[in-house]
Symmetry: C2
Subunit: 216 residues, 2 copies
Amino acid sequence: MTGSRRDPSSAGGSIVLKATNITWHKGKIEREDRENRNGHRGAVIWFTGLSGSGKSTIAVEVEKRLFDIGAQCYVLDGDNIRHGLNKNLGFSPEDREENIRRIGEVAKLFADSGLLALTAFISPYRKDRDGARALMEQGRFIEVFVQADVDTCKERDPKGLYEKALRGEIKEFTGVSAPYEEPLQPEIVLNTMELSVEESVQQIMNNLAERGILGV
Amino acid sequence: MTGSRRDPSSAGGSIVLKATNITWHKGKIEREDRENRNGHRGAVIWFTGLSGSGKSTIAVEVEKRLFDIGAQCYVLDGDNIRHGLNKNLGFSPEDREENIRRIGEVAKLFADSGLLALTAFISPYRKDRDGARALMEQGRFIEVFVQADVDTCKERDPKGLYEKALRGEIKEFTGVSAPYEEPLQPEIVLNTMELSVEESVQQIMNNLAERGILGV
């Protein structure tokens, strides 16, 4: 997946010093340079859905598939965000909004660096998700609605969170005591009550290829 | 700079499905997988110095050199941080501290994704820089002190900021009306009153090679 160099005569492009076979960039490295090198576009793949719907599981499997075909990719999730960048945020409405805002901004930076950034957060509010989308150029924000009804998620309850929420030990828990606003026009919908993880991953990979995000 | 695959039998490693020549990752993709692919380590190269000392200029030139040898790299600077992730921060002491804290956390995420993250911010306080350093494993935080005295920076004054600060139009301007705390033990010192940009870049590239950050 090594990409072709840009036309050396184009503005902001590169010239090849033939004697040394070193490419010398005149301007700042641009996203396009990175994309040509990586063989795919920089973009944000934004997973949204209830706790237990399968966001993280699918995101991590997509990351593996992407890595294995040579793509540069990275998952942003609770593990690397909540204890780091967003450790000074709680769960008030303002803090939840700021949580998603920062994630959107960081995902944008990753996409600008040429990576495929996969974000796996409940992100229950349309307004917040649309804010993250608005940061990106059209076609570079892929919203993936990971769909499973509350009863199914309660049954799965991999972290025992629904049980705690139902006992009132967690307040404002999405799907129990706080709303989840389903995406109106997501790029991809994965009904995980019917699709296997493998089928979900394949659907995303196909979609990325169709959109021209893979195979630049 | 394509790296070698990890031992397939190692924990968290990969196995090769011989029939299809596809590598299948059992566990989550780890930084080591990314580094083997990229041919270099993920790390943070943290430029600090007065406004006008040459931080951004040198960081951008290092980025070009790194890109041209095939490395994955990205510059975080005022352009992509202040109007994005940190647009809700001002210049109060708390906000300045939070500004650098967030930059340190984002740089860490980039390093975890296998990239060389170059940060170019005045970052005048030792405590804040040490906070960013403390997030990283030893050897993965390269503090570059870009050294030029205030008089030299005033003369350069590429953005006319010193002039404004001296007229009192910018308050708490580092080097004029706010302190700059020089690094005590930076990994690299570049005296830009004596070194050319090209020499500065070369010094950093040599240093990265000596530390084993390049050429994994």
